[in-house]
Structure formats: C-alpha cells, structure tokens
Amino acid sequence: MMNKKLKNLILFLPLAIVVVFNVVFILTHLKGKEDYLHTALRIVLNDFYGLQSVAFGVVIAILCGLGLRRKISGAAFLRCVFLAFLLFMIAVNLSFFPELNRDTQGQESKRFRRKRTPHLEEAVRSSAAKSAGAIERYLQLGADLNGKTLIVPWPPEDGAYGSFFGFVVPRAVVRKNYPYLIGADDLEFLKTLNARTSRFSIKDKMTESIVIVSEDPDAEEFTLFRNDRTIFFFSPEIVKRLPMNLHD
C-alpha cells in the first residue's frame, strides 16, 4: 500500500510542481496589472458572493445537522449537513438571478455597469432615428431583394453600435426581423465597413454577424473579410431561396 502511495507521489509530484509553477507565473502577471487579481480576491474575500457564502453555508448546514443530531445516526447527520449545504448554495445562486439577468452586455468596457438591453425593435427604432437616411436606403435595397427582409442600417451612427448587435434578443423579435441582411453592393459602404472593422477589431470586441449580398461574392473588395467568421457572403440567388416568410 505504502509502495503504491510512494509510487504515485514520485509519478505525480513533478507534474504538480509544473502546474503550480504555471499558476504562480500567471498570478504574478495578474498582480497589479489591470487589477484582475485584486478584483478576484475582493470577490472571494469581501463580496458576499464568495468565500463567506461557502463558509456561511457550511455553518448553516452543520447547525441544521446538529439540530437533528440527537435523533439520527452519524451517516444521516452527514446527509443532512450535505443536503442543507446544497440547499443553501441553491438559495445563494437564485438570489443573484435578478442582478445577473440584467448583465447581458458583457462588454469589457462596461463590466461594472449593468443595464437592461433594449429589445431589438426599440434599438433599431432608436438607431433609425439617428440615421434615418441610411435606413431608408438599405430598406429600399432590402425591398429589392425581398419585401419581407429587414435591412439593418450599416454602419450605425456612433453610440448606436452597442445597442443592438450581439446581445440577448427575445426569440420573437428575432423571428420577426430575421434574417439581418445588409446590402453591400456599393463601394462607399465597403469603405465604411472596412473602417469600422479596423476600428472595432474583431479580436477585441463582439462584432455582429453580417450577411453580405452581392452579385459577385468572390469580388476582390471582399478579400479583407474572407477569413472573418462573422461575415457571410450570399449571392442574391441564394438569398431569394431563403425562406423569408417567417412570420408564422
């Protein structure tokens, strides 16, 4: 038995050292940089969200078990403690639902702000108010492709960017406006798209999925976006075959 333990120790000790070393390396990088470690420690030590909840849960669970201790066996006591602990953890989890429910943006720049995301329709409406000319133009293009297609104006005015892309959207709204198609047959649009794409680096930000409808999806102008997983190229023929009548 001892031999097996010793063998395991010899086998896994170097592995544990490597892993611990990596973790320490990461933690030293995190320390003092952008406050990640500090934030994490604060969450664990200060917020009710962390260690206190677990510790409090253990205490509650033990008290629950002790209350029953006189009448029950040792195994039943353990069961009570564990089940009480689980119940407490469930309660803690549920208590955070209302707050978490609002945290739908998930953008780094707004990580400490929680704001209810407006519905897509409202967002499009507000965006439309800001760029009335653009939406009309693209709606017209959409009408040419398919009368029931909603064309999202692109690029939206500054400030409207974050209001309707990439966020939680109720299904009914998605169904009503699906799919988001963006006409892309003019060079001016492409130039702007290029500028926006560089500005909102795809690596750094959540970017929207775009369908570019073009007579020539293989055109040179699209080379820049070829490897971008958020941009899809369809020819009008394929778009016409998409089942657009989705208002059932």
């Binding site: 490597v18 990088h29 969200y49 564990f82 990580r111 998605v174 958020t230």
Partner: protein, 479 residues
Amino acid sequence: MINQFLFLFFLEVLGLSFMVLFKKNLDRAYLYLLSFPMGVSLWAFLILILLGAGVPVRRGAVLAASFLMLGFFFLMDLRKKVFSREEWLPLAILLLSFAALCFVFLSLNYSFFTNDSWGLVAGGRTIALSTRLPARLLAETGIFSFILHSAGSFWHFDYLYALYPMIALFLVLFFIYSLYAPFGKKKISLNRHLAFSGLAALFLLSTFFILLNSTYIHSNLLYGFYTFIAIFGLWKRLRGDHSVWLVVSILALLSSVFIRVEGPLVALIPVILLISTRELSLKDKRIYVLSVTLAVSAWFLKLFFVFSGFTGKKLNADRSLFVILIYLLCLLGLWLSEKRGLARLRSYGPPAMLYALAFLWSYFIWTKGMSMKGGDLIIRRYGILLVNILRDGGWGITWMALFFLFIAALFMARFPQESLFAYTILSFGLLFNSLNLFRGGWRVGWGDSGNRMLVHIIFILGFYIFLKFKVMIFKNETS
C-alpha cells in the same frame, strides 16, 4: 411551429427506435433518457454521411434518407420483437410527454440569440442551400450544429429554438438518474437517493449561466451533454455493464468531435484512457478506437479537400491532416499496447498524457508570456477568466462551491473506476488552459468564449464530485 415540432418528434422516435434495440441490456430509464440525444446524433450523422459522400442535401433526399433510416430501425425492432404488449404503454406515455413538453417549449417562444447563434443558423442555411461545403464556416466550428439548423431550411422553420430546452431537459434528467443509481438500483432507497441527486442537479440548474444555456442557440450545452454521455458510457462499460454502453459512448464521443472545432483534441482524452486501461477486452478497445479513428479520419480527409487553397484561422488543410495523423497514432498506440513486451507500459499512458498536456501548457505560457504582448495576453485571458468564474460569468456561487467540494472530495473514499473521471477532468483542465491562450473574443461577462467553454466540463465535474460525496454519505447503500 408545427414543422419544428414534427422534426423534433421525429428525432425522438428515431432515437427511441434505435435505443429499444438494446432494451434487454439497458436500464429502461437510460433507454428513454438517451433516446432524444441519440436521435439527434443519428440524424446528424446521416446528413454528415450524405455530405461526406458528396450527395447534394436537398429536402427530398434528406426526407427519404431520414425515413429510410427510421424504417431500417423499425424493421430491426420488429425482427428482434422488442415491442411486447406491456411495452406499448410506457412508450406511449414517453412519446406523449415528449410531445407535450416540446409543445410547451415551442409555445414559450423564447431563446437567447447572439451573433454566434446567427452564425450557426446562417451556416445551417448554407449547408442546405449551397452545392459545396463552406470551408470558411467549417474552419471555425464543427459541422454538427450547422447540420441541425439546416433542418430549418428543409422544413421551412426559422431555427431550432426548441431543441436547446429539450436537450437541457434530457440532460438534467440524465444527470439526476445517473447520480441516483450509478451502481444499479439494488438496495437503495428511492426517496433519499432521489433527494440527493435531485438537489445536486438543482444546484447546477440554479446557476444562471447553465439555465441561460438551456435556451441559448449555441453549441456549448450540446457539447457538454455529449461529452458527459461519452465519459459516463465509457465508465459504465469499464465497470462491467453491457457493451451497449460502448456503442452509446462512441456515438456521443463522435457527436462531440463534430460539434466543436476543438472536439477532436478533447476526444483524444477518453481514447488514450481507453487504450491504457486493463479493464476492457481487446475486442472492445479495437471497436472503440477503430470506429472513432475511421469516422474522424474520413471526415477530416473530406475537410482536407474542402480546405485546399484556403487558409483558415483554426482549421485548414494541414491541420486536418494533423488530426488524421494523431488518430492514426492512437491506432498505432493500441496495436503497440497489445504487444506483450509493451503491455506493462500501458498504465503509464494516463500520467504521460497529463505530463504532455502540462508541458504543452507551460510551453505556450513561456513562449507567449515572455514578450510584452504575450504578458498582456496572459493577463487578459486568465484575468478575465478568473473574474468571470467568480462573478461576471453568470456562475453565481457554483464554481466557488465546486472548488471547495472538489478539494474535500479528493480526501474521500474512491469509487470504482474513478480514475477515468479524475484523468478526464485534469486533462481537460490542462488542455483548456492551453487553448485559453489562443482563443479570441475575450471579454468580461458570460459571453466570453472561455467562460462558455466551462459548460463543457461542468457536468462531468459535478457528477464526479457528487458521486464521491454520495459514496461517502450513503456508504452502506452504494458499495
């Protein structure tokens, strides 16, 4: 709505007609609980085979192939006489319950839809409408979800919004039952064990992010479920249960391979563990490794040609060949492990895998971490991950509690074949940390890709921890 209902109901019937073939050797509850995920898998594999063979997937062809498959299973069922008179009632109740729940989820009319969701839906349309496989999409993610969403195009509904709550429901029930009677139902009290497994499942379900995933149009929950089934099935077989668990595990593992782009890498973990074990017969090992290797190699060979002349960020022609090579090496490993002189080295397979992954992680940390930009990468990736796990990822107290329970569980009595779970969790952890340095789209919040990837392992980890506690507090009833 009715089209989607009919499609999901068809998947359930397909899965059920397949699973009842094994009714003599499988606990009835598992048979029912696996019917839907297996139905989803089988249909996706059918389309995958059509795509792989170059058959244009159009509505007529898909409809014909789907009913041919269903007809084949029904014929097999009839031949094996699986439908006895007393069988009809539970089957009817199951199908009616499925229909009712499916209808509820369809009527609730709610899902989370982000740009990734749109990518999956649009990819499904592309699969259904294009004449060639879209290299750009397949270079970024697995084909499984695209195939599922292509159904929307075949049968004129927008997207599969009811699939995810149905999968979540089956996942929760499967989790509860697998924890309720992991070692069989003999000598256990229904109420206490059900209360335990129910509360454990409720603990996971009370996590905001897991609940969110039950309506999120994405691949994470599907992947988490299939990986859990694959590992659980393998564990059941290792414990000596019937070889049907091997079939279930193979199907689930292959599903996971095709769901995510990192699927083939993660699937190597159970394959290597299987090669290293002494508990399985050579025949079982050969079936498992050969079928997984053949399926993965065939698909990635197809991808190799699809990717020719294309430079993908995550997958490309070279990497497709690399995946094939790795799986062929696994096959070679199996062959070598059968050699008498090398057989005793088998037990070192799992630790060797851990070492390889740990050194891979170290290598990436050191090569990336040494430069100024690399240091920044480490701060962003791990710092954000830490903050997400603790607060902003929508996990509530779950990871914190699981961490302490895991530490406590390490000192508890072992359950049979525990090492399969232990090695899987540790290997996944190391691989996840390596991949963490390469992923994009990092941000504070639940939408962070690393945060979403935690869903892949949480059910396996949860099962492992709760089973350890169960073995301890129900000592007399679980041995």
